[in-house]
């Protein structure tokens, strides 16, 4: 990638070896220290303490990962420390944020700004919106240089910026300098952000969920680049994330946040293998794994804590599997105490009991794996998609005539029998959501046939379509947007029943049944969606989908917006519902680990086509398509042990435009093993090793050792 530009560019002596940061730390001063940071907001519900006495140190050359769920205070703490929290309801920021011995919280604004971007730089989530849409990308990077070096001329800044763009792997840097952010892909925008952040060789780099909005293959590129950026600048990196896989791949040390505090810190291997806080252990148990499919996830019961009413004792106590109502947990707040060997701290009254949760999580898992397999595939499929095509016009020119077509879905066939789950996986823009919408004709098909229970969706008239839509229901990604905010959750769920003309009393009792089935409390039916958390809302959305007793559920990224602990609850709920009622699921997701957990069969999509399909075992354990292999290799594994041996070679570049897909095999432009025939002939989906693979070289990919392919 961009390694060549960086060789030898690291500063001598300041780069610590990633493996022995502890040894170096004894000598050095931390480059950034948070001390008892408290952040409070004034809300209509009272004072909310979003950060409740958070402390951590970052040393030069190391990566500290701050990991936690939504609302745990991990982002708010750094934003407050750097004076970047500007909401009018910010009530108080206290404690210390020491940057090279200077407390940032006491600095006047002008002095603080002089240090931002020079000594400490930030990389934000969602880089596209973090860049000014009306300024040239190059100018935005140059500004970071010139604002701290008034003597730098525009011409000299340009030269330096082009170097930086080159370094972070933006091709044609000189031409790209003059472009605007909307002309960049999400991954490229994140590269620009990183170039901006390392421009002044800061001592601290803070990356706030830097890869959350990106596809796995691009995520792998960006994580590599962050590592390079750390080596280049010798900076201490704070990596804020919710993704335990990212943590395991990149961190030297980890701090786990919960309820506005650090509940556990330690070396990355210790955190993953011998956690000393039950929350850390529970999180690991709730995580769907790519490497081993558990029969059932172990969700953390309950909901994340409400920062406006934190309990007096341990914030995790109400959900804690080891507290078991012990009074010390509910009455006394545990202080962060170092472990017996002096390394790592845990804020738990019983730190030694936590690690036992991990082994407990493993045991019921693999023993019963894939019993559900069976021979259910015999019957006629609930969903039968035959050569479905969806094209959208691209209008341009003076008369806005369609000048080109986006081939969103281009000849896809798949079948889902009753009681089974087909996982549809692919990166953004591959057409998986369009395909899901085709099934209900929310998008008009351009060609092919789609049968739901043997009824042709494309040929259906109005009333027939209404019947089909009754038997095939959809659950959307964003439970905040897909529920009507003005209707109570009960009315939201009752909507399909009302459309069927059911009388009020009957609706009421059915809603109560549905609530019970999805694990919601019946007496909450009259509340508005805004009173519920994300996971609960997704339960409401599932209850609504179940209301018309569908035989097919189309789940479009149903857990992508949820935290890990809640995600596991929803995935388990879906599995239970399927076992009870033998519904067929079409489960669309970008998350390969989630698909492995839920699916029986998997189809991998790339640029509107299915490139590989088959049983979960076949696709995950014996992938024959180079794209599948690359995707699987890109997913960060939540296991730091042996990460140095996992030499990941991420896929280069971005997904090509579906307006003008490459000739022959669509993947050939990014394929590491493409040969001449790939450009000439489109490979058909053919039977390979018990599954289907669309690759000319499918028989040979198996001979590649996993190391070589990954």
């Amino acid at each position: 990638m961009s390694g060549g530009a960086l060789d030898g560019a690291t500063r001598g002596g300041t780069v610590h070896s990633a493996l022995t940061p502890a040894a170096d730390r004894g000598a050095g001063q931390p480059v950034l220290s948070l001390r008892d940071l408290v952040v409070e907001f004034t809300t209509p519900a009272g004072v909310v303490r979003a950060v409740d006495g958070m402390s951590y140190d970052v040393f030069g050359g190391e990566t500290l990962s701050v990991v936690g769920e939504t609302g745990s205070g991990k982002s708010v703490s750094v934003l407050a420390a750097l004076g970047l929290l500007r909401t009018p309801n910010l009530r108080r920021v206290s404690g210390q944020a020491l940057l090279g011995g200077v407390d940032l919280l006491t600095l006047p604004e002008v002095e603080l700004r002089r240090r931002l971007g020079r000594d400490v730089a930030m990389i934000f989530q969602d880089a596209i919106s973090a860049l000014n849409p009306v300024q040239r990308v190059g100018h935005q990077i140059a500004e970071a240089l010139r604002v701290h070096d008034r003597a730098l001329t525009a011409a000299a800044a340009r030269v330096r910026v082009v170097e930086l763009l080159d370094m972070v792997g933006v091709p044609h840097a000189d031409a790209r300098y003059d472009q605007y952010p909307h002309q960049f892909s999400g991954g490229m925008c994140q590269r620009v952000m990183i170039a901006m952040a390392i421009a002044n060789r800061p001592k601290v780099l803070i990356a706030d969920e830097p890869t959350t909005a990106l596809d796995v293959s691009v995520q792998a590129q960006i994580l590599d680049l962050l590592r390079v950026a750390r080596e280049e600048t010798g900076a201490g990196v704070v990596l804020i994330t919710h993704d335990l896989g990212v943590v395991a791949e990149t961190a030297d040390r980890v701090s786990v946040t919960y309820g506005g505090r650090i509940v556990e810190s330690g070396e990355v291997t210790q955190i993953f293998t011998r956690p000393r806080h039950p929350y850390t252990a529970a999180l690991l148990g709730a995580l769907p794994r790519l490497d081993t499919a558990a029969r059932r996830l172990l969700p953390i019961p309950g909901q994340p804590p409400d920062p406006s009413e934190l309990p007096p004792g341990c914030a995790f106590a109400p959900r804690c599997p080891i507290s078991q109502g012990r009074s010390v947990c509910t009455e006394q707040r545990p202080e962060a105490r170092p472990g017996p060997d002096g390394a790592g701290v845990s804020a738990c009254h019983f730190p030694d009991e936590a690690a036992a949760l991990l082994t407990r999580a493993d045991s019921p898992g693999d023993t019963t794996a894939s019993v559900s397999g069976g021979d259910a595939a015999a019957g006629s499929p609930v969903l039968d998609v035959q050569q479905a095509v969806a094209r959208f016009p691209v209008r341009s020119g003076v008369l806005a005539r369609p000048s080109a077509w986006v081939h969103a879905v281009d000849g896809v066939s798949l079948r889902v029998p009753a009681g089974r789950t087909l996982g549809l996986v692919g990166e953004s823009g591959c057409g998986k959501t369009t395909l899901a919408r085709l099934v209900l004709r929310l998008v008009e098909p351009t060609g092919g046939r789609i049968l739901v229970d043997g009824r042709d969706v494309g040929a259906a008239g109005r009333s027939q379509l209404r019947q089909i839509r009754r038997s095939a229901q959809m659950v959307f990604q964003d439970p905040y947007a897909s529920l009507n905010p003005r209707l109570s959750v009960g009315d939201n769920v009752a909507e399909p029943l009302r459309l069927q003309g059911l009388p009020y009393a009957k609706r009421r009792s059915q809603v109560a049944d549905l609530f019970a089935r999805v694990g919601l409390r019946t007496e909450h039916a009259d509340r508005l969606p805004s009173e519920f958390s994300g996971g609960q809302r997704q339960r409401v959305a599932i209850a609504r989908a179940l209301a018309s007793r569908p035989g097919l559920l189309i789940l479009d990224e149903p857990v992508s917006a949820l935290d890990v602990s809640v995600q596991a609850q929803v995935l388990n709920l879906l599995a239970d519902l399927q076992r009870e009622s033998a519904m067929a699921y079409l489960f669309v997701s970008h998350d390969l680990a989630v698909i492995r957990q839920v699916a029986d069969e998997v189809a991998v999509m790339y640029l509107g086509r299915i490139v590989e399909s088959g049983s979960v075992r076949r696709v995950y354990d014996d992938p024959r398509h180079p794209y599948t292999r690359a995707l699987l290799a890109s997913v960060p594994v939540p296991d730091p042990v042996g990460r140095a041996d996992r030499r990941r070679v991420p896929l280069g570049g971005d997904v090509p435009s579906p307006v003008d897909p490459p000739s022959g095999c669509r993947f050939r432009t990014r394929c590491p093993i493409a040969v001449a025939i790939c450009a000439e002939k489109e490979p058909p989906l053919r039977l390979v090793a018990g599954g289907h693979t669309a690759c000319h070289l499918a028989d040979e990919t198996a001979d590649l050792t996993p190391e070589a392919a990954r």
Binding site: V110, R113, A121, F124, S129, A130, V134, A144, V147
Partner: protein, 315 residues
């Protein structure tokens, strides 16, 4: 960028033609016939026929329109029924006065609206912010003509600092005189329009200040003043540009009430009088000018949009 411009130009042309048809046709909707108006009700049939022929009123409707628009394009909008002067002459007499007043009023509007909008958006809870918010509400509520009268009574009649009736003093001949003559009506207009504009600016600026790229600029270490100047204002200016374009259009169409209050010899008063006198040729010509000006300003706003926001150039 190029495609966007061509498409907008075509739209402009189409709407201009449709607008001109509407302007030309509207005389048919009014009671009375231009010939009867000119000659009075006791004119003979032959006199009427002769006058209609002279005015081109005897052909088919399509012919009438084509000859009217043909002449209009050639700079001939006919003669005023009332004064007999060419309509174009009459309009050209008044247009400089209108442009000068519009220019004054718009300059004042922006001079007030931009700082007020910025303060209200950034410091809504400060003393200045609250006072200025009061100004915005008052500026919207106070009728323009009433403010005009008040200004005349206080500044012209009682204090005698400025003239009560405003003659047109061209700024290129006597800048100081032009300012004294035009400032009162300009202020009367600008108080209202600046309140509208400042409100738009404050809303969009407030929104932009919460955007991710503003946080990025701060995290780069850009001083707050430059964050606002370089990053926030340009993004926030888009809705404001629209409203300013519309306001300028209405200024150039003539601010009828204010011109009447200050007895200012602008386009608005000319049209007002012409309507009263049923001087259809003059009304038609005047309205055609107003329509064309409005469309042209809209076109300019769209072009300016594309300059401000590179994303618009794509579509």
């Amino acid at each position: 960028m190029y495609g966007h411009l061509v498409r907008r130009l075509l739209q402009f042309a189409v709407v201009l033609v449709l607008g001109s048809i509407a302007v030309w046709a509207f005389t048919f909707a009014l009671p009375g016939d231009p010939a009867t108006v000119l000659l009075g009700s006791d004119a003979s049939e032959s006199e009427l026929a002769a006058t209609r022929a002279r005015l081109g009123l005897d052909g088919s409707i399509v012919q009438q329109y084509l000859s009217w628009i043909g002449h209009a394009v050639g700079g001939d909008l006919g003669a005023s029924y009332y004064s007999g002067q060419p309509v174009v002459r009459e309009l050209l007499d008044r247009i400089p006065a209108t442009i000068q007043l519009a220019g004054f009023a718009m300059t004042l509007t922006l001079l007030i609206a931009v700082p007020v909008g910025i303060v209200v958006a950034l410091r809504p809870h400060s003393v200045a912010g609250r006072v200025l918010q009061g100004y915005l509400t008052a500026g919207l509520a106070v009728p323009t003509f009433w403010l005009g009268l008040l200004l005349i009574i206080v500044l012209a009649v009682q204090l005698q600092w400025l003239p009560a009736a405003s003659d047109f003093v061209p700024i290129w001949r006597d800048p100081a005189g032009a300012v004294t003559a035009t400032i009162l009506p300009a202020v009367a207009i600008a108080v209202h329009t600046s309140s509208v504009t400042a409100r738009f600016l404050a809303t969009s600026l407030g929104e932009v200040m919460g955007k991710d790229y503003i946080r990025t600029a701060r995290a780069k270490g850009v001083p707050e003043r430059d964050v606002i100047r370089r990053h926030a204002l340009r993004n926030a200016s888009l809705p404001t540009v629209t409203i300013v374009g519309l306001q300028l259009g209405s200024f150039l169409g003539g601010t009828v009430v204010i011109e009447a209050v200050f007895n200012y010899p602008g386009l608005g008063r000319l049209l007002y009088t012409a309507i009263g006198e049923r001087d259809y040729a003059l009304v038609q010509g005047g309205v055609l000018f107003v329509v064309a000006t409005f469309l042209l300003l809209n076109l300019l706003v769209d072009v300016f949009y594309a300059v401000l926001d590179p994303r618009i150039r794509l579509t």
